[in-house]
Amino acid sequence: MQARSEEELVEELKREHSDLLVEAVVHRSKRVSIVAKREKLLELARLLRDKYSFTHPVSAGAIDYIKEGKMQMIYYLMNPESRFMLMLRVDLPRDNPKMPSMTQIWEAMSFHEREAWEMFGIDFEGHPNLTHLLLPPDWRGGYPLRKDFKGEGIAP
């Protein structure tokens, strides 16, 4: 597989698979961001892994946009050949954040998805072991990294 540059990848994705994605941009050199359609996410992910050989999962995390009423799940992926960071994003509604689990594609996303599950309340369908990772097993305090979490601010 020939290594593609950032621009080549974005153009090729836009040209051939425009039905799978909402947006694809090159932020700066080595940073590519793709916003996927939620229902086509698995398809796009499988394509990225198999065709574009983004086989090296880096991390995943979410961000809570409380004003827009959405949450964004970001998967950080890397191609071991071309070595730029691909951010695969998917927008989720804030009141029902549900999405297919990426552990079916990248096994190593397991920990990161468990973290996003407990910190943001994103429900991953098809995750083999969706239990608490960092928080205690009897945690009932809500989702800490959401913006409406009533945590303590900077102590006086």
Binding site: V58, G61, I74, M87, L135
Partner: protein
């Protein structure tokens, strides 16, 4: 974490958090006699919510909490955050500051690698002689840190816009002297330990991680390079002064514990070379651009900075909303990725109970980094 079910033919041992070698985590192991059938990492004992804390600190205040992620390797972690802040706020850094940053990062890398090296050696059952030797050698670096930054461990020295102070008088000579001393010491380590046949017996062929698995499971840092994947952020995406510096990316093909140890060992040599280069060739000029103490961000900017810490690639992804504080900071910590590899290793390779600490410390876990 709720415990998964136990199969009838295995015995489950809770290995840690109160254990001489486990560190601040709990590892559940299902053993069948001496053979480990399954490893379950129960992390999160040291979760402090650094990502949430950072949302409540201004950009400059955030340097202090994020340094608490990895105390042995503070410089690299802080650099990740500071670079992300600089990118988000559009701050330029003077050339000399970049070189000083690289110098401190390399010293921190040696510091951290020495610690990992000592611990892995201790795990094989050495009476902690070697661990104490590495501690003594780290002292040399800590003295240098103290002279340069004023603190031995968590030197909040990097600041958006440069570093907080210039090199003190005569510091370059001291760096060179320390490099000379450390080079001589590493020969002892190599002869007494790495080439020790008993040590090799404990490490060779233990916890083998193939190249494909390393990529697939998202390993990073020395674990990835120990499996023969030539990946290093310092070279792939040069930050600080690494674009101008001359160094090699160390890889080993075997993918076992010894290979990871050797990667660390040779990386220390490369870091010593880099330290020497910086001491020789550091350019002049200012070390700090004037930045407001309470910088205000532009709304909707995001910046992902990647740095190569001693444990692997650290990513700090900052989102801003126009305030004085970041909207969200996502930290991609290296140990969390390596812990997943560790969890899967029992399925990939035959792991004995005695190998467990060796494998665990060959991935060099830092649970504070893992739990954040």
């Amino acid at each position: 974490m709720t415990e998964p079910e136990i199969k009838p033919e295995v015995m489950r041992i809770s290995w840690g958090p109160q254990h001489p070698m486990s560190g601040q985590t709990r590892i559940l192991i299902d053993v069948d006699g001496e053979i480990v059938r399954r490893i379950i990492a129960d992390i999160g004992f040291t979760h402090r919510g650094i990502e949430k804390i950072l949302e409540n600190r201004t950009f400059i205040q955030g340097i202090v909490p994020i340094e608490r992620m990895v105390m042995a390797d503070t410089a690299n972690i802080a650099l990740g955050y500071v670079q992300a802040v600089e990118e988000a706020l559009g701050i330029e850094v003077p050339e000399r500051a970049k070189w000083i940053r690289s110098l401190i990062c390399e010293m921190g890398r040696i510091n951290s690698h020495l610690y990992a090296f000592g611990l892995q050696v201790e795990c094989t059952g050495y009476f902690p002689a070697v661990f104490l030797w590495t501690t003594v050698d780290r002292e040399v670096l800590l003295d240098l840190f103290e002279k340069l930054t004023g603190a031995r461990w968590s030197y909040s020295f990097f600041i958006p816009g440069g570093v907080r102070a210039d090199l003190p008088e005569g510091f370059r000579d001291e760096v060179k002297r320390a490099v000379k001393y450390l080079r001589r010491r590493f020969q002892d380590y190599w002869d007494a330990m790495v080439e020790n046949p008993l040590f090799e017996m404990r490490n060779r062929g233990v916890g083998v991680l193939s190249r494909e698995d390393a990529i697939r499971l998202g390993a990073t840092g020395p674990v990835l390079r120990g499996s023969g994947v030539d990946m290093d952020v310092r070279r792939d995406e040069p930050y600080a002064a690494y674009g101008d510096l001359d160094f090699k990316v160390i890889t080993e093909r075997e993918g076992d514990c010894l290979a990871r140890l050797k990667v660390r060992f040779h990386e220390i040599e490369q870091s010593l070379n880099i330290m020497e280069q910086i001491a020789d060739e550091i350019p002049g000029g200012p070390v700090r651009t004037k930045v407001s103490l309470f910088p205000r961000s532009k709304p909707g900017v995001e910046a992902l900075s990647r740095v190569e810490t001693a444990r692997g690639e650290l990513g700090v992804h900052i989102f801003t909303d126009g305030g004085m504080k970041p909207y969200r900071v996502k930290i991609n910590s290296p140990t969390l990725r390596n812990m997943y590899v560790f969890e899967r290793l029992a399925e990939l390779d035959r792991v004995l109970v005695a190998d467990l600490p060796v494998i665990l410390y060959s991935i060099d876990p830092w649970y504070l980094d893992c739990d954040r």
